[in-house]
Amino acid sequence: MRMEGTFEVGAPRERVWRCITDPTLMVACIPGCEEIAPVDARRYRARVLVEVGPVKARFNLVVEVVEELPFERVASVTRGEEGTRASILSAENMVILAEIGPALTEVRYSSDVSVTGRLAKYGLGMMKKRVDRLGVEFAERFRERIAAGATSA
């Protein structure tokens, strides 16, 4: 299942870059994300709650940065599974930042996600709709944070 999207942020590219590479800020922006903790220089551990109707799934994920070109792009892979239940998730992700103006940045993201196990029984059609909406929600929260003056170390 491929998901992708584009949104604009009213901030310089360097600042947007610092924000998207800041785990603390990302926890607040990713819908359902409960925790992100660095494992080592390239890997993060994350816990994400996905709710689809009456079904709740808590994924323990490891995100590994596989390619990083500062201020421009970051590629990562995500792997993980639900605690005691049988859903396995893997994804290849790409985020690209493009400078549109001195204080305007375009964020383009794409992800090839595969889910197997109990959650896959819901059917890909609805999963994709859900995920597309999560992308929109992420963009909204991210823009709000930036507008509120979020910076990062």
Binding site: V52, G53, P54, R85, A86, R118, G125, M126, K128, K129
Partner: protein, 290 residues
Amino acid sequence: MSALAHLHRPATIEEAVRLLAAGDGERVRLLAGGATLVAMMNAELVDPAELVSLAAIAELRGIRALADGGLRIGAMTRHRETAAEARLAGAAAVLREAAARIANPVVRNMGTIGGSIAFADPAADYPPALVAADAAVEIAGRRGRRQVPAREFFVDWFATALAPGEMVTAVLLAPPAPGRGSYDKLCRVSGDFAIASVALSVAWRDGACERVGLAVGGCGPRPLHLDEADALLRSGRLGEAAARRAGELLAAAADPLEDVRASAAYRRRVIPRMVERAVAQARAQLEANR
């Protein structure tokens, strides 16, 4: 697979709500007919520790007439009973026809209207029928009862206006009016979920349309309904031009899925055809009555 869930059998709605409120929405679940919940438990999609069976609550059973002539369909009313209910006539027949198209006889003997709408699968048969009929949903919670119009009850894929700790207790219908109610479902095989469905409820008097409710199922996160389409059909007296325009409006507003049943584009294409057919049938009946 975990241990068997503990089963409660409360005798009153208040007791069921109390048991439900003790959980977090995941640990304790209400068991109505079990047609969906038990299948989901078998598929390990849900794994409740406690089940609250609603089978022993008399108030939830059956269909009865209200003082104003309206109908109250208890949440535990089986699809088979609703499909056979003679009082669901005229404009209200849309609900009877929808019930008759649900799945197969086994599921219709088991499944309940309350369970079905609380689950809120947008490809299910009741949601568009209730929206077309402009029914209301009665809900019980710790703070008593409240009513929500069906048009506000379904809010998203598998999501309703039910707050945590609340349950559906009944579906309420206005007094049956002369007219026509119809439910048409396009599906791959008999009993499947809808690729698209059209629910139409028209009340008429002295040859004039008094109320029109049109809703499309299976083509978005919740039943698709537009006041504008209803108004067009009413003022256009179910005419061909009004039907065409209403179908176009609904198709444009649809947000269909791509799934094994059909592509999104296909779903958008069949909506106007199904709307025009349902309206033409209602028009023919209205003219025959004149």
